[in-house]
Symmetry: C2
Subunit: 351 residues, 2 copies
Amino acid sequence: MEVVSLSAPAHPDQAIRWVESAVLLLDQRVLPRVERYVRCCTASDMADAIRAMVVRGAPAIGIAAAYGVVLAALQHANKTPAERQRAFDRDMAILAASRPTAVNLFWALRRMQALLANQPNIPAEALLAEAKHIHQEDIIANRLMGELGAACIAAPTAVITHCNTGGLATGGHGTALGVIRTAFQRGKITHVYADETRPWLQGSRLTAWELLKESIPSSLMVDGAAAARMRTSEIGWVIVGADRIAANGDVANKIGTYQLAVAARYHGVKFMVVAPTSTLDLSIASGADIPIETRAAEEVLLCGGTAVGAPGADAWNPVFDVTPAELIDVLVTERGVVRNPADKSIRAILS
Amino acid sequence: MEVVSLSAPAHPDQAIRWVESAVLLLDQRVLPRVERYVRCCTASDMADAIRAMVVRGAPAIGIAAAYGVVLAALQHANKTPAERQRAFDRDMAILAASRPTAVNLFWALRRMQALLANQPNIPAEALLAEAKHIHQEDIIANRLMGELGAACIAAPTAVITHCNTGGLATGGHGTALGVIRTAFQRGKITHVYADETRPWLQGSRLTAWELLKESIPSSLMVDGAAAARMRTSEIGWVIVGADRIAANGDVANKIGTYQLAVAARYHGVKFMVVAPTSTLDLSIASGADIPIETRAAEEVLLCGGTAVGAPGADAWNPVFDVTPAELIDVLVTERGVVRNPADKSIRAILS
């Protein structure tokens, strides 16, 4: 991966760009202090970038993986058919193994793979068109979800969000943060409280940056403060994204989401999950079966890149948790809004 | 304040030491990476140290303030009676203003002030004896609470704790962490999950350090992970300290405590607060009236000393929150255990 400087300030809606047979990814490891892209020229580059969280957020990972398939097709174009197929299959496996929880990754790879059926060659141009299509569809879905989610908010209110679900986490506009952006434009949101979202600080680094770029009034808070915020001031909604949604409506999302959902229910605050239908995984019956990525203890022992934990300390570092469907008031998808999501209502939205 | 190096590894139970007419404070801003003391020679030094969190933890702040009164008496001993009284009163005010939430500070100052009634001079020796007495009493109270709290735990279990409530936060042994230390020795605790406790990372830096020194099996986790931990594994108790307890049993403690209490209730996990009776404030009817310190937004925007938050972002940074009495199963004091604390049972334990 090669670092590419920017000639103008970065925009959250341009986190993934296809430029001259390569993918430029806005480097989310170093935002907001450094605005730079990294260039991925191979599928292996892209898998590294996904694993290292240069690009993150379930929908963005799906889009990035789709472009990664195109990179594989281009890279191996001049090989013999047998070699090409072997190399391409290996690249697909590398991309699939980059992160385990977000289902959009597998969904995008399956969509790309469908173009290969009964093809004697690997159709690079068709794959690129499909990747761009996945990218564009996601932006359109986000704008639709923005309107649908905003319409759920009856009166102007303050909201809490978690992690980053904006332009940076998607093809553009965002899922949960997309609803917040649209709802703010419609006069439905007075203030956004953003969890800093340890250990990776997506809230502090990325969501705060996006909210500032959009001039939406906001305050960061530590992840432990959300319940106190609900108790001491008017919070109408908690609005979050999702990495994978099981057939029964259980939602895997960034660690801390479940704790927010429990606190929201205790305080009578409404809980909204915003995710495109590519996040739904009907092959998984309930949240208990969603594979939850655990990352290195070091991410907890480090804080802002500085070692803070006691030397020798252990840490439990699951990246996601599961919020059971019964704690979710509204699931917003690009196909419509599901109230009190459950097996039946989720199958209905997909049919 | 002058920095003093250590000749041997620091021990958590020696966070506050009276040495040669000065107070040595184990510098909790730089633990666990640097083990050093700072020397306070005046009450103003001590107030600075409390404000800067060189020393923190409600009981430790009380002890430190008591020694601060002794420092004031010594510093002004050679002044004229009128000048002495003015300077001394000013120092008392400076100490009282150092931090607003922990009531042990005011309790200790009142105890010291009681010695001054009807005294023509300021009795430095008697004040020193009283400060040492407050210090020793706290250690004895903590050992007592350790036994009383451990006795509440029926069968060996994993527990969750928040912030730091060990030797570092007290005169020695600790309140909540004191119960954990004693209960571990009695075979009642299998594993300790310690919240890292943003923004100041008392869990990551101080509690993990103490648990390692005591060889108690433990894992750190981010503050958002506690509910997921309760859902996915057997947690018998959440055990926390307190900075101030209102007459009705509402508890002010480190931000994040209330969220833990809500999650504990949702999962049927027992919730224990451990605090000496000096933490009880009968002058305050309920938690709504406890003054909650708000610190600089910068503490949230910094992480491990590194600026991580988006430049220009705002942050809401209350240091404490209030857990209502109805979420507390057991309050452990040195005078006994209060189950389901409320006005009547709290007054009973004090009488």
